[in-house]
């Protein structure tokens, strides 16, 4: 079995005594898009920052193509950073306002000492066109662009080093619906072209449905359900996942949907229960703590198992 493009094993991050990310397992296979969904505060953005080693984890391992990054210093990480890049939500804050777009896109090449200055400028112009902007933008500043155009620049900067993994942290949630679709299409095209593996962090399930191969649902720092995208949308097992699906706004006012807002108590009260015999794997039996168990068809859900 070959190593996954990106793998998190039992990664934990505490802020004070609050665990923002609690023993999370996550696998992004090569050339796949894995969506990480959950409400604000569920720890999905923190998980992304931990994967990028922009935050130091309190425990667990982060593996990039099988290589454990956890023990490496920031200096030793530098070559691996070429393999893994990031696009943030706020396209305005993620571009240096004092630099031209050409300088911004070429910066990664400069940091890694690749090419001459002239070649870097050339590459930047080529990438502007690759992400659907005219090369004439190279001398413009970020504030002259629209949000969608800025997000294209952020994508170009992330991909110019030719990474194998992209962490996209809500790249579309600050954008209009039509612009959102363009960015999703761009990511899809580039993903196919470059064979990218994407960890797509989002709370927008319509985008997730059209982009992701697998969906991981997080709640209060824990992974509560994980399954191929179709399965999540067709047969979510965890009450929280179902609540998320129900909360997606529907454009047709006549199509009434059951809106369910659930408190933490309600969710734990409705935690699925299985008998050990129903499961694919043999989990611990009769523990009070819910655990992630395997159902048929690589569908995992947090549940309480009885004997």
């Amino acid at each position: 079995m070959t190593a996954a493009a990106l793998e998190l094993r039992q990664v934990t991050k505490r802020f004070g005594d609050q665990a923002a990310v609690d023993r999370v397992d996550l696998v992004v296979p090569h050339n796949k898009v894995v969506a990480l969904v959950g409400e604000s505060g569920s720890g999905k953005t923190t998980t992304g920052l931990l994967a990028l080693r922009l935050l130091a984890a309190n425990g667990g391992q982060i593996l990039l193509d099988g290589q454990d990054l956890t023990p490496l210093s920031q200096k030793a990480l530098k070559p691996f950073r070429r393999q893994m890049q990031v696009v943030f939500q706020d396209s305005y804050a993620s571009l240096d306002p004092m630099m031209t777009l050409g300088e911004i896109i070429a910066e990664p090449l400069g940091i890694h000492g690749l090419f001459t200055a002239a070649e870097r400028r050339d590459q930047a112009r080529r990438w502007l066109e690759k992400v659907g902007l005219d090369a004439g933008y190279a001398t413009r500043y970020p504030h002259e662009l629209s949000g969608g155009q800025r997000q294209r620049v952020a994508v170009a900067r992330a991909l110019i080093l030719g990474p194998s993994v992209l962490v996209a942290d809500e790249p579309t949630s600050a954008l209009d619906v039509s612009v959102k679709a363009q960015i999703v299409n761009l990511l899809q095209d580039l993903q196919a072209d470059m064979g990218l593996s994407i960890l797509f962090i989002s709370h927008d399930l319509s985008v997730v449905r059209s982009l992701a191969d697998e969906v991981v649902v997080m709640l209060r720092g824990r992974v509560v359900e994980r399954a191929p995208t179709d399965m999540i949308f067709a047969g979510a097992r965890h009450p929280y996942t179902r609540a998320l699906l129900d909360a997606v706004p529907v454009l047709d006012p006549k199509a009434r949907r059951r809106r369910s807002f659930m408190s933490a108590e309600e969710i734990s009260a409705r935690t699925p229960r299985y008998r050990a015999a129903e499961l694919e794997t043999q989990p611990l039996v009769d523990t009070a703590e819910p655990q992630l168990v395997a159902l048929a068809g690589s569908h995992f859900v947090e549940a309480i198992v009885t004997g």
């Binding site: 940091i111 619906v177 319509s206």
Partner: protein, 300 residues
């Protein structure tokens, strides 16, 4: 579930208007502020006068060429009159600008040399370095500058460089605080995280991103350090422990003029006016620049 629009789009092209850097917009806001613009012009004229002093005055600042007309009042020949030692007072005021502005500018430069790196490092590194820096700055803010400067000036027996260094010693605090605040607020921005994710070293992040984004507080801090230093020099010279005669300094000239103020008013009035005008201009310019760079107006 919402359907996603899927029309293909061609290359977006930039519009025809010229591109402008954020600094250009700051300049435009500054130019709208007439008081600051006027102050800037006055300051430039004063600096030019100081540089080209020999061309605009008949005699040098120290030449006792008019001993027979000592203490003469202002006239067509001597615009600001003649002082008690027979020197053309206009020439002395103009040469005094050299001292005042020279000390102001070099002290501001030294303030920047100390304040910028310390402020940038304190803001970026945080933690213990920041803590120590802040305690040092608090130390400076509880000591009255003039009192400390008096002590230092009497220990070093005055002199131009001693005064420049003393002024810088108290001037770097403001620059440091301004730069630190800016760097601290930018450190958490996503473009800094993006640079870190790209593998940029702390040095690269500070040099390529944080300092260029701190140009506004750097310029403001620099300009506002100028009047502070000039005021300190004037105070010390007024008290007799700053610039020593015969080198003309406005503070020292005010001190001497005080002795004659009831009979020969020009001896006190002109250096006071010159000092007031210069400090007012430098302060107005600094305030105007600060308003022009105000981050709350950014992206307009």
């Amino acid at each position: 579930m919402t359907e996603l629009a899927t029309q293909a789009t061609g290359l977006a092209r930039p519009d025809q208007t010229r591109q402008h850097s954020p600094l250009y917009f700051a300049w435009r806001r500054f130019a709208d502020n007439k008081a600051a613009l006027g102050a800037g012009v006055v300051l430039v004229v004063l600096i030019l006068m100081a540089i080209f002093a020999p061309l605009i005055t008949g005699t040098g600042g120290n030449e006792q060429a008019f001993l027979t007309q000592s203490l003469a009042f202002p006239s067509g020949e001597h615009w600001f009159g003649v002082d008690d030692l027979g020197r053309d007072f206009f020439a002395r005021i103009v040469y005094g600008a050299r001292v005042s502005l020279g000390i102001g500018l070099s002290a501001a430069l030294f303030s920047l040399v100390i304040g910028l790196p310390v402020g940038a490092l304190a803001g970026y590194l945080g933690g213990r370095f920041d803590w120590v820096t802040m305690r040092v700055i608090e130390l400076f803010s509880v000591v009255p500058p003039l009192l400390a400067a008096l002590l230092l000036a009497s220990v070093t027996r005055g002199g131009l460089w001693a005064i420049v260094l003393i002024a810088a010693l108290f001037g770097w605090v403001n620059v440091c605080l301004l730069v630190r605040a800016q760097v601290k607020s930018f450190r958490e921005k996503e473009f800094i995280m993006a640079a870190q994710a790209l593998g940029a070293s702390p040095w690269h992040v500070i040099w390529r991103h944080l300092i260029p984004n701190s140009v506004s507080p750097i310029i403001v801090g620099f300009v506002l350090a100028i009047p502070l230093a000039m005021m300190l020099e004037a105070s010390l010279s007024f008290l007799g422990i700053g610039v020593q005669p015969p080198t003309p300094s406005w503070g020292q000239m005010i001190n001497i003029g005080m002795n004659f103020i009831f009979f020969y008013w020009h001896m006190a009035v002109f250096p006071t006016l010159a000092l007031a005008l210069t400090i007012l201009s430098a302060s107005l310019l600094g305030d105007g620049l600060r308003d022009a760079f105000d981050p709350t107006l950014k992206g307009r």
